[in-house]
Every structure is written in structure tokens, then in C-alpha cells.
């Protein structure tokens, strides 16, 4: 594909901080190469704004390799833009056409307050993780290979759940701003492995409770989260979380209830 240059109209959400009201601001992006990533396009726009003495657009980014989960952005109605299975940093301007208007919004959720412009505070995810997304045993020395037998199929499934990068696209895509896909992936990665069994039911209860406390919505099974997840976390994780949670609450011995 040959490189093309395009001019775009951006409608960007500008908001000073959490406590002020934000609004959309129209900004022209001129001379954008089709080979740039979406974030590089924003860099060009920001350089322009800085040169004019204006406040650059504030957005989250880090590795720019699609593995850290830091970049966000709700682009033309979809988290991480129109492509599926990709983060915003891996979205290229060739997915857009010359003269197009692009609406850029932050993730919208009560549990993700806006820090500034397009960046939101995703520490709610950290608190859910801290509530039970760990194994509290001493790691000790390196165990012998195959000392703990794990069927390949389970190891693969646990690994797939563990690929969640915690970007929050599931929350952004869900019409209820529900965090079920994230929480269920974090519960599943331990629930599938022997090391996670000791605290399996405590973990499910604690993490679901923290998720509710943070103010994320409930699941309507629209599957929007699964469709928009950049790393392809599956909805079966949510079924597993429901199973573990309901199992703990209704079928386990009393001492396990939190």
C-alpha cells in the first residue's frame, strides 16, 4: 500500500480536570501520513498546538507496541477505533480516509473519572486486582519441571485469560460500563491453575465485591466487550466467574463465605 497524505477534522473531548465540565473542540489535522499510527497523528496535532502556544491534547500512551494496555480512546463510537483486535497505538491512519471527521472521546464510566482531556483514571482496575487477584503463598525456589502437572488445554486457557492488558476497552464498549470481562479474566487465570485453587472461591467473591463497589455496571451479555477486546478475551471467562461466585455463595461451606 502506498503512503498517502490526508487532512482530517478531529472532534476532541477537552476537559481541564475531573471537576470541570468538558466539551468537544474541533481541531484540523493537516498533512497526516496514512502510515502513521493514531497516536502519532495526535503527536503531530499536539506539536502544532504547542507551537501555537495552546495546551496539547492529553492522552494516555506508553509502549506503543500494543502490549501495555495504556492507550485508550473511544474513536468514532468504538474503543480503540474501527479495527477489532487492536489497541489505539496499533491503529493506523490508513483505516481512515482524507477529509473524514473523527470523534475522539475518553472511556465513559463512573468508575473511570476523566483526569484530563482523553485520559481517564483506571485505578479502579488496580483496586479490583488488589482485592484478590493474586496467590498468597511463598514462591520459594524454582519448582522442578512438571512437578505440578497441568494439562496443556488448561495451561493454554489460563494463558489466554492472562493476556488481558487491563486497558478498559471492555468497560468502554459495554452499554452498562461493566467490568465483567476484565474481572473474569483476572479470576480465570488463577481458577484454571493448581496454584490458584487454595483461594479460588475467596478470590471470586472479593473481586466481584470490589467491582461492585467501584460502580461498574452489570452484564447484559451483549458481547460488545469480547468483540472490542484488543487481545481477544473470551466471554466464557464471564461464565466461569459467575460459576465460581454463585458456587461460593450458595454451595460452599459456611467458612468460605466472605
Amino acid at each position: 500500500m502506498s503512503e498517502k497524505t490526508m487532512n482530517l477534522t478531529l472532534k476532541v473531548w477537552r476537559q481541564k480536570n475531573e471537576n470541570t465540565k468538558g466539551k468537544f473542540v474541533t481541531i484540523q489535522a493537516k498533512g497526516i501520513s496514512s502510515d502513521m499510527s493514531f497516536l502519532e497523528m495526535l503527536d503531530v496535532v499536539n506539536e502544532d498546538l504547542t507551537r501555537k502556544g495552546e495546551d496539547p491534547i492529553y492522552f494516555d500512551h506508553d509502549c506503543r507496541e500494543g502490549i501495555c494496555g495504556m492507550c485508550s480512546l473511544h474513536i468514532n463510537g468504538q474503543p480503540h477505533g474501527p479495527k477489532q483486535g487492536t489497541t489505539t497505538c496499533q491503529l493506523h491512519m490508513r483505516s481512515f480516509h482524507d477529509g473524514q471527521t473523527i470523534v475522539i472521546e475518553p472511556w465513559r464510566a463512573a468508575a473511570f473519572p476523566v483526569i484530563k482531556d482523553l485520559a481517564v483514571d483506571r485505578t479502579a482496575f488496580d483496586r479490583i486486582q488488589q482485592a484478590g487477584g493474586y496467590v498468597s503463598v511463598n514462591t520459594g525456589g524454582v519448582p522442578d519441571g512438571n512437578a505440578i502437572p497441568i494439562p496443556k488445554i488448561k495451561a493454554d486457557e489460563a494463558f489466554e485469560s492472562a493476556t488481558c492488558i487491563g486497558c478498559g476497552a471492555c468497560v468502554a464498549a459495554c452499554k452498562n460500563a461493566s467490568a465483567m470481562l476484565f474481572v473474569s479474566a483476572k479470576i480465570s487465570q488463577y481458577a484454571l491453575l493448581p496454584q490458584g485453587q487454595a483461594e479460588r472461591y475467596d478470590r471470586a467473591q472479593a473481586m466481584v465485591e470490589q467491582m461492585d463497589k467501584e460502580g461498574f455496571g452489570a452484564c447484559t451479555v451483549t458481547k460488545a466487550c469480547e468483540a472490542e477486546c484488543p487481545v481477544g478475551i473470551k466471554l466464557t471467562n464471564i461464565a466461569r466467574m459467575n460459576r465460581d461466585y454463585l458456587n461460593a455463595k450458595f454451595f460452599k461451606e459456611k467458612t468460605i463465605h466472605s
Binding site: K11, F24, H74, N76, G77, Q78, P82, Q84, V103, E105, R108, A109, A110, A111, A173, K175, N176, A177, S178, V208, E209, M211, D212, G215, F216, G217, A218, C219, T220, V221, T222, K223, A224, A227, E228, L235, T236, I238, A239, R240, M241, N242, R243, D244, Y245, L246, N247, K249, F250, H257, S258
Partner: protein
């Protein structure tokens, strides 16, 4: 708060209640459909009226009917609670939202579909359930000649009707019943009501295609082999056969009676 209460008030607990009441309502639909198929029988409504009496007077069925009313109310109330809760989870809406790119229309609009169904249930019960229970339907007498098995039906006045009766006299079986069949036939002469019934059944189809299989997801059921069967049932039984069979009833009375 007890652990049990806490379990039911969590987001997963609320969805559990939606799932269980919803599945119970799904099983009710099957029974309701099979019973109502008697409307298509060309016997001046004898089988249907006998069935209507049985369904309203057999104690175990009466007990289940209260569970049914409770399920409808609980399902609707919890839907409202969850909708408000979910709205609160996103106080600022997106200016640009492409939901159709990542999810189906019916999965995003279960509340609207459910509201149509709730209005439908209220209309439906006012038309038939309320009138049947409050003596606002006509009365009928069937005389079946037991040697030829031919049945004669005559409308009788309220004065001639004391209660549902079935007895044999002079080689004839006599049945006196509330004529719900006539009420059904009468109600479905109204084109607006027929149109509303057909629309409501379309809403039912979309509601159940999503609802039936999602109820199993909520329960944590994701068996590799059985989930495709549940999807198949959701589409073919609850999404196509049941709504079409129900919609056929008003259309049959409107066009064929």
C-alpha cells in the same frame, strides 16, 4: 447484611434473579402455547373452555400460577433496578456510539422489548384473565350425544349459569361453561388489537433469542457441547416457533372466523 442477602444484591445476584425468573417464564410459554393450540380445534370452543376451567381450578396449577405472577413482577422490577444501576455506571453518554459494530440490536434493547411485553401482558390479562375471573364473558352449553358423539353448542344467559358443570342426562353429556373461546373470538375482530398482538410476538421473539441463552450464561453454563444446543433452542423454539404459533391465533380469528 447476611451473606445470602449480599449474594443476591450483588450485580451477579441480581442477574441470577433475572435469569431464574426469565427461564421460568420461558417454560410457562411452552405450556401456555400447547394449551392454547386448542383454539384451533373446530368444536365451538369446547376443549378450550374445559381447559380454561381446569387451569383456573386445579389447585397445583393455581399454586404455580401465583409463582408465575410473582415471576413476571420480579423480572420487571429487577430489570428496572438493573437499568437504573447500569445507567449510573455511565453518567456521561458517548457523543458517538457505534453499538451495532460490536453487538446485536436486541441484546442492547432488552429493556425496550421487555416494556413492550409488559404492556402486552397487562393488555392480555385485562382482555381475558380479568374478564374470565369477573364473569364478563358469555356462557355456553354443550350437549354431546353419547351415541353419535355429535355436539350442539348454544349460548346461555347468565341466569341459566350457576357454575361450571359437566353431567350426563338422557344419553347426553351436558357441559355448562364460561365461554372464553367466544371472548377470544370477539376480541380478535379488532384489527388494532390483532396488530398489537403480532407486534408483541415479534418483540417476544427478539427478547427470547437473546434472553434464553443469556440466562444460561448468567448461571455460568458454558459447556462446549450443550451451549450450541441452547443457542439452537433459543432461535428455533423461543425465537421462531413459539412467537409464530402465538401470533397465528389472533390472525386465525381475524381472518378465518
Amino acid at each position: 447484611m447476611s451473606s445470602f442477602n449480599r449474594a443476591l444484591t450483588s450485580t451477579l445476584g441480581k442477574k441470577l434473579i433475572m435469569s431464574l425468573t426469565g427461564l421460568f417464564l420461558c417454560t410457562f410459554l411452552i405450556v401456555h402455547l400447547i394449551g392454547n393450540l386448542q383454539l384451533f380445534k373446530d368444536d365451538a370452543g369446547k376443549a378450550f373452555n374445559d381447559y380454561a376451567y381446569f387451569m383456573t381450578h386445579f389447585p397445583p396449577i393455581k399454586a404455580v400460577s401465583y409463582l408465575l405472577y410473582a415471576s413476571i413482577i420480579i423480572h420487571a422490577i429487577y430489570a428496572l433496578i438493573l437499568t437504573i444501576y447500569n445507567k449510573k455506571a455511565r453518567p456521561v453518554a458517548y457523543a458517538s456510539y457505534a453499538g451495532n459494530k460490536n453487538s446485536t440490536w436486541n441484546s442492547r434493547n432488552m429493556g425496550i422489548l421487555g416494556t413492550v411485553l409488559l404492556v402486552f401482558i397487562a393488555t392480555h390479562m385485562a382482555n381475558f384473565w380479568w374478564k374470565f375471573h369477573n364473569d364478563q364473558v358469555p356462557y355456553i352449553e354443550y350437549r354431546t350425544d353419547l351415541s353419535t358423539l355429535e355436539t350442539q353448542a348454544t349460548e346461555i344467559s347468565a341466569g341459566d349459569f350457576i357454575d361450571y358443570q359437566k353431567f350426563t342426562q338422557d344419553g347426553e353429556e351436558i357441559t355448562k361453561a364460561r365461554d372464553l373461546y367466544k371472548q377470544v373470538s370477539y376480541a380478535f375482530q379488532n384489527p388494532l388489537l390483532v396488530a398489537f398482538y403480532v407486534l408483541a410476538m415479534a418483540a417476544l421473539s427478539f427478547h427470547l433469542i437473546h434472553g434464553f441463552r443469556s440466562a444460561f450464561q448468567t448461571l455460568g453454563f458454558d459447556h462446549k457441547k450443550y451451549v450450541p444446543i441452547i443457542r439452537f433452542l433459543a432461535v428455533w423454539i423461543f425465537g421462531i416457533i413459539i412467537p409464530i404459533a402465538f401470533a397465528a391465533m389472533p390472525l386465525y380469528f381475524f381472518f378465518c372466523k
